[in-house]
Amino acid sequence: MTELLDLLRSPWPWWVGGPLIGLTVPLLLLIGNRAFGISSNLRHACAILLPDAVKPGFFRYNWRAQSWNLLFAAGLILGGTLAGLLLADPEPTRLSAAGAASVQELGVQVRPGLVPAELTDLSNPGVWLLLGVSGLLVGFGTRYGGGCTSGHAITGLSTLQLPSLIATVSFFAGGILSANLLLPAFMAVIR
């Protein structure tokens, strides 16, 4: 029994997780001819929440036809509760030696959990700044670029779409820049 619980709490190697992620694309097509993409839900949420007076045309469409995706997002939350709370890994993320050293250099301790305490301490105004700027860029960038990791890197590349390749290369260019240059600057302020 304890062994089973240990197994359920353990993380999976990439060669288990990767193929299961890839299967999402044909499964959603099979269920109802839907294209997998998570960031569209941010647009749907705006379409639902914005009052008419401040609602740009971009958010005036029948979001109810996209309710399948809102259900998918609700499922993501439940999945997080199941795997990340009830069956949370008691060990920290098993980083490479180089990865662990870089993270410590940023002033972050490698402890159990998916997000370090240093980045979730809302009593620190710097954390608000980091999370706020990050969220703003994620929301703006995903709609401007027409998708995120799921819509472009997984669905788009799986269906051999050139725009998605351009987008994915750009995601990584931006991410490499910010993780290596901007984040250390932010962390110097936060610490």
């Binding site: 269920i31 647009r43 509760t81 670029g145 997984i154 799986s158 901007l182």
Partner: protein, 155 residues
Amino acid sequence: MSAGTRVPGVHGHSATRPAARPAYLLMGVYFGVILVKSEAASWYRIQEMFRFEAFHMFGLIGSAVLTGMLTTWLLRRSGARSLDGQTITVAPKERGWTRYVLGGATFGVGWGLAGVCPGPVFTLLGAGVWPMLVVLGFALLGTWLYGALREHLPH
């Protein structure tokens, strides 16, 4: 089946059948569990990836794309219809590159900062990482900002 008005960037124009609702919810649970168990929702793994310090995330994304490519090709080649009887189609993304480079890089910078893309934001909330509400709130603000400024941006 009634076809709604086609909205650019919003795929699939038919309403969600009530009978299929539990299936979409379950697919979300499936994906959320994978995000946690594969550690794609781990801030640490994202930092490691953007510094090229481990193969894990590259193997994860690479094998996901290869699996998606092969299984989607097989599904479409088999001529199978979706469970609600539709011909399986994949809407082509609009052509061009400006929006993909500028929007993509903007998203990338945000992704590298807090180490979360949209999927993990929801999943981490479920895992009880409440500060992700700040990311989600500002992501909604960013989405609205794009909608408001859209006509002034190069695409």
